[in-house]
Amino acid sequence: MSRVRVLVGTRKGAFLLESDGQRQRWQVHGPFFGGWEIYHLKGSPVDPDRLYASQSSNWFGQIMQRSDDGGRTWYTPGGALETTPDGVPMGQSNLFAYDTSPETGRPLSTHQWYDGTQHPWEFKRVWHLEPSYTDPDTVYAGVEDAALFRSTDGGTTWHELAALREQQGEKWAPGAGGMGLHTILLDPNNPRRIYVAISAAGAFRTDDGGQSWKVITNGLTSNYMPDPTVTIGFCVHRLAMHPQHPDRVFMQLHWNVMRTDNAGELWTNIGAGLPSDFGFPIEVHAHEPETIYVVPIQSDSEHYPPEGKLRVYRSRTGGGDWEPLTNGLPQENCYVNVLRDAMCRDDLDDCGIYFGTTGGQVYVSPDSGNHWHPIVSNLPPVVSVEVQTLS
């Protein structure tokens, strides 16, 4: 009997929501790490009991948490009373140091600030965790200020893939939420290929495991930059990819929904027909690679659904032909937002779609978006939602 485990990160802790494959009755566990911001939790595809969580606070900084039993217990992988052979206390799991070493690093430049001046590069928090498809001890972390880190020892130590910052890092700028690397897409068939996205810098791809990177923003346009022909500075909100089609990537851009069929060499706009070109998350159906989901938001200045109606939009044709999904969702007086990491799908035969809101609701549709119901309604503001399909 299949079951699902939903991992919810909120502004005030983490929650685990569990159900059988029917996805009608739910058990709610938590809060874990109460009072802390949990930007993201994610499980290993290889070992579903291995979970990673990013716990952070403006007061106390970044803590990495790990569970080896499906979220029942947690620990900081580098925080135990261990010592090195030299007797030096460990506790390195919270250390995200930009790599400026001559061997593998790059000099730490400044980056562009909101007012156009240059600003020092400073680590703030981990936004997104992406465990490897093949090794439960390997996990990637997207951080603010934007960089990509990798751990190969289960989150105990972290090393930056610094070549990414060579891609005009001095021109990267923070979006409203900060300068975070928020999306990491791993190609399940080619571990050397990785896509990442940064707000507000753009999208990038490596084909050699992070030794070199390419800017992939051709076809994107923006009316918030003085020069529309630039390649850097795009406020990419989210990328999504079907694992069987790693050259086809979908994007929710600050304005517009985009797709590429050649691994980012050229993007085309597929947002025609949506009530708004603004939004944050985007997701792909588990079994229909041309079926995608977005949640349009009124505008970049009004972060709530148009007309107060919470609508997920679905395209079964890879964009350009959208239908609103409203059954079970509030259709009046709804002014919540759905953040970029707060939408996901399971892998059950009848694909489930999930999303969480800044109002503290987590919704599920167990039938590809046709019908929705809330799993929980009164959590703290939801930052991220991930789901594990368990057998």
């Binding site: 007061w59 106390f60 900084g61 135990a80 206390p89 506790g91 919270n94 250390l95």
Partner: protein
Amino acid sequence: MTIRVELPFHLRNLAQIRGEVTLDVPGPVVSLRTVLDALEAHYPVLRGTIRDPVTGRRRPLLRFFACREDLSHKPPDDSLPAAVTSGAEPLLIVGAIAGG
């Protein structure tokens, strides 16, 4: 010397500490730096939560108080007040008051 340290709620939870911490801190000078070094050596999970793990600077939303004094902006190698180094008074590590 035995030094008493009071931590904020979230750091006590994180390090699984109940109540006040007592630390043996080597002399002859007991400073903010040597106390925090000893604290982090005993509780490695606290590394980075009070001081930036790269620069070693106090995190901006934390304050250090003792003996009705704000020590947050004192040089980290200055000796702590005698009442702290004698164990009569604790060093208070306090999160800046802010809502949310």
